[in-house]
């Protein structure tokens, strides 16, 4: 998730990503015209563009409408026709960025922005000639004149730094939460077993061996942990639905924010089971070593 961008070095070099400006007044919200884009009359010379679903939703623009598009507020720009409405891909780097997007032909954007025959970047596909990406890169950069080539994988690594940070943060928070839950579970299970001290004393007085009593205590704690974690997983699943619905609405993206995978469920159940067994064993060890009459308070 991209959060803050101050430095131009991080400005995405998107050939088709420009804030929409119209002849109408815009408001103070960054990148979001409030006054509706005014549909005009379609003219034959008018070229087609694709617009973001957000613009269509916010301003009631439909395919076939004519808009005025300018690179800078207050300038004339040119009339364009909406040929398509585009739904944004579920791109995590777009999350939390609320500006509109329009897509238009390269020459049209160059003319509109006065950038002549300039581009921010272009993609190069290598022929199947056996040359490695690295040697092609070196060759291009050796003769570079005003540009630099990067391997797609390096660009991907750089642009995924944000997610790596978020991922590390989530892992850290997750780690803390797991430790907290583990201590909590251990504590509660220990207390719950201790609560049964009278029943355990009665079993011991009835002649059950320490081993049998200890095993029954451990088994009970394990069953409680597993049942609890399964209920917790169900609850977690409901929470993921709520989280996804909330953030998809908040950030207007089809992106999935929380996923409960079988792996996570298995991890939760296994961890709970282990903790249950540890807590049960700890409590049982203490209780079976204490004489039954002491457990009864005599």
């Amino acid at each position: 998730m991209i959060l803050l961008r101050f430095a131009p070095a991080l400005v995405a070099l998107l050939a088709v990503g420009f804030p929409v400006a119209t002849h109408a007044q815009t408001d103070t919200v960054i990148g979001t015209p409030t006054a509706p884009l005014v549909p005009g009359r379609a003219a034959p010379a008018v070229r087609g563009i694709a617009i973001d679903e957000r613009i269509a939703d916010d301003h009631g623009v439909v395919v076939g409408d004519t808009l005025r598009l300018a690179a800078e507020a207050g300038t004339r720009g040119e009339l364009v026709r909406v040929d398509a409405i585009v739904r944004r891909a579920a791109d995590p780097s777009e999350v939390a960025r609320s500006e509109y997007r329009v897509r238009l032909h390269l020459d049209q954007l160059q003319r509109l922005t006065g950038s002549e025959d300039r581009v921010d970047r272009f993609a190069v596909a290598l022929r199947d000639s056996g040359e490695s990406v690295d040697s092609a890169l070196a060759r291009i950069n050796h003769v570079a004149f005003g540009f630099r080539a990067h391997a797609s994988r390096d660009v991907a690594v750089e642009s995924s730094r944000t997610f790596q940070v978020v991922d590390r943060f989530h892992r850290a928070i997750g780690g803390i939460t797991i430790v907290a839950s583990a201590v909590f579970l251990l504590c509660i299970l220990l207390l719950k077993v201790e609560e049964r001290r009278r029943a355990i004393a009665a079993l011991r007085l009835a002649g059950l061996s320490r081993r049998t009593v200890a095993l029954s205590v451990i088994a009970e704690a394990a069953v409680i942990s597993v049942v609890g974690s399964v209920i917790g997983a169900g609850l977690g699943w409901v929470v993921t639905l709520a989280v996804n619905a909330h953030y998809q609405r908040l950030f207007r993206t089809p992106l999935t924010f929380a996923v409960l995978t079988p792996g996570i469920t298995l991890f939760a159940v296994t961890l709970s089971l282990l903790l249950g067994i540890v807590a049960g064993a700890l409590a049982a060890w203490r209780l079976v070593r204490t004489p039954p009459l002491v457990l009864l308070g005599r």
């Binding site: 070095a9 103070t28 960054i30 507020a73 207050g74 004149f145 430790v179 201590v183 509660i188 207390l191």
Partner: protein, 409 residues
């Protein structure tokens, strides 16, 4: 006496009590961290924005400062108009671009962020050594560079560099590259760590950009004249000036510190909400721990409590004593949790500060005594209330019945 009894009751099962305190400490740590995260981002961002006294930022319509490559034309007229406003004290225009830089002494070269400012009013950097470039230069002759650039190019103050836009500085083509002297070292407030940056006079950078930069700026920062009316009056005048700018200049958006914070908070809503949820969960965990522990302790001691009632201890006395147990657990847990929380906050802050593109001075977890005490008080109140239910049950113990059951049991 009650405190002695409460303490002694907790100490009767040291392992149980220590585990509960540890659990509570983790809950407290998590709560403190989440409060620091929820309030710290705002505080840190605000202090960053207001560090040089500029309350308003004027950007190309519909953009955030340096969020896109968009610029505003006719900048001189815009800046003059802003400076003529009676409530505006200072205006600092700037233009940003990416340049190629090559050292004339070493063989090092690379790209850097170049910021054109008016050195006498700029609010973008602070000089660490040397001096700011001469304000009157209209062509690139002097620059001030950040530490990252000096290190990367292996140059120092006094060295000469070649600066070019859109052409490879490696070629050292005299017709496209300007030669400039590094006159100082600076810390750039809004530049992310690890990004090489230089600053030169606005007109010099505009001329470097050629036609694309003629009389164009990326941002103008404005400070509002202070008066005796206090913060509320200044805030009202800032808003009035902001509205005036947007009404008078259709090409720009004026953002006040407050609205910038609101916008950043919108973008950071995820973290704030995550903090809120985890903080609330910590509270629930804390409450559950205390309630469970104290409930069990009460259940085990019903006979004892009945005896206390029988020998004349009032209901309120029992209530106080049991609640005191919850409070003691809370205090111990919070004391440990405070230290634990500060350590984990540093760790989490270090992780989040790795976000690409963030100013070096922005923090996510900020220690604010008020927020911390509020969260700790919240946890303490929660722990006390958590002890209240078992305490109430304990105080309602039926003396005769409990004594009878004790005698039979």
């Amino acid at each position: 006496m009650r405190a002695t009894l409460a303490f002694a009751s907790l100490w009767r099962h040291p392992m149980r009590t220590l585990l509960a305190i540890f659990g509570l400490a983790i809950a407290a740590a998590l709560l403190i961290d989440m409060v620091m995260l929820a309030t710290g981002m705002r505080a840190s961002f605000k202090s960053l924005l207001t560090s040089r006294g500029y309350e308003l930022r004027v950007t190309p319509r519909g953009t955030l400062p340096f969020d896109t490559e968009a610029t505003v034309g006719n900048a001189a007229a815009l800046v003059a108009s802003l400076r003529a406003h009676p409530d505006i004290e200072r205006v600092s225009p700037s233009v940003g671009t990416t340049v190629q830089i090559a050292s004339t002494r070493t063989t090092q070269s690379g790209s850097a962020f170049a910021l054109g400012t008016q050195p006498d009013v700029q609010g973008e950097y602070s000089v660490l050594s040397g001096r700011a470039p001469s304000a009157t230069d209209s062509t690139l002759r002097e620059v001030i560079a950040n530490t990252v650039l000096l290190a990367r190019l292996q140059v120092s103050v006094g060295d000469t560099i070649n600066v070019s836009v859109g052409r490879s500085a490696q070629l050292r083509l005299s017709e496209v590259a300007e030669r400039a002297v590094i006159v100082g070292e600076a810390r750039f407030l809004y530049v992310p760590p690890g990004l090489p940056a230089i600053s030169a006079p606005l007109r010099a950078v505009q001329s470097l950009l050629g036609e694309a930069g003629r009389d164009r700026i990326s941002l103008a920062m404005a400070s509002i004249r202070a008066d005796s009316g206090g913060a509320a009056a200044t805030s009202a005048r800032t808003e009035a000036v902001r509205t005036w700018i947007e009404q008078t200049h259709a090409r720009v958006t004026a953002i006040s510190t407050e609205t910038a914070i609101v916008q950043v908070e919108e973008r950071l809503a995820y973290f704030r909400q995550l903090a809120l949820i985890l903080g609330a969960l910590s509270l629930v965990i804390g409450v559950l721990l205390v309630t469970t522990l104290v409930s069990l302790s009460v259940n085990e001691r019903l006979g004892e409590l009945a005896v206390l009632r029988a020998i004349g201890v009032a209901r309120s006395g029992i209530l106080h004593q049991i609640m005191l147990e919850g409070l003691m657990l809370g205090f111990a847990g919070i004391a440990i949790g405070l230290g634990l929380g500060l350590i984990t906050a540093r760790w989490l802050n270090a992780i989040l500060r790795d976000f690409p593109g963030l100013p070096a001075d922005l923090d996510f977890f900020v220690w604010s005594p008020e927020a911390a005490w509020k969260s700790l008080a919240m946890l303490l109140v929660a722990a006390t209330l958590a002890g209240a239910w078992p305490a109430w049950r304990a105080s309602k113990v039926r003396v005769a019945q409990a004594l009878r059951e004790e005698a039979i049991g």
